[in-house]
Symmetry: C2
Subunit: 152 residues, 2 copies
């Protein structure tokens, strides 16, 4: 089991890949983001940037989250959740069938002054497609438990 003390500024991880099918993209868009360019090929083709049917930016965030949980499972980490995100940039469209990876870098690790049983890590994320193009970048904070007193 890893704790806050096991995280270091400068730590990097390469995660993924993950994909979504066209059916999963349409299912997400119907439920949460039913804008024409996420649902309809002709509307997407007419859009000034997308060119063809692209997935919701929120689904890209959700797929990034899936890769972050994959990292936790691989390393035996458990987060306590996140207070928030300071920046998301949807830089390029993500299309159904794209294969996404996530590069994570730990920018800062801080024990909580008021709650010594936990602390936070500020992390930067770069999500890329199969051509190595940055499709989304993100920066946010994740909470982790500190090592219990007397624990190993």
């Amino acid at each position: 089991m890893m704790y806050l003390e096991d995280m270091r500024q400068g730590d990097r991880a390469m995660l993924g890949p993950v994909q979504v099918t066209r059916e999963e993209a349409l299912d997400f868009a119907r439920k949460y983001d039913p804008q024409p360019f996420h649902l309809d090929d002709a509307a997407a083709a007419a859009h000034p940037f997308f060119g063809r049917l692209s997935i919701s930016g929120w689904q890209t965030c959700a797929l990034a989250m899936r890769m972050m949980v994959q990292e936790m499972q691989q390393k035996g980490m458990q987060s306590l959740g996140s207070p928030g995100i300071d920046s998301i940039r949807w830089r390029k469209p993500v299309y159904p069938g794209d294969s996404l990876t996530l590069e994570v870098e730990t920018l800062e690790v801080k024990r909580s002054a008021s709650r010594p049983e936990m602390g936070s890590a500020r992390r930067r994320y770069v999500c890329r497609n199969q051509d190595g193009v940055d499709v989304m970048t993100m920066e946010g904070v994740v909470l982790y438990a500190t090592r219990p007193a007397g624990g190993s």
Copy 2:
């Protein structure tokens, strides 16, 4: 049809409500955010903040997006998508069955210098539960088409 020119700084809208069932919360968590406190009642009960099974913060964002699209449909607006988000704060847990509303305020409206056929609005969002508690706040930018020359 509304265009960028129809948006004003200070515009406000109250959107929603939307809900998710426990099954929808579990389905989202299994696909995108399979952390124990989003999947398992006992793990959620042991968590320092959540108390009981809470939905993924990314599902709260997705539900906020659903309300933003509801606003577009009501007003005859179409966005061209979003370049990004500058802040998300997950302030309180959201539980399956919660009834969420979204208050939107337009902070700034700007025509693009390089692409006069479009412009952007900076908007602030407050997502509340049925008890009026702010569960998430968010600020971001949305792109809109400008009124076509000669159009009405």
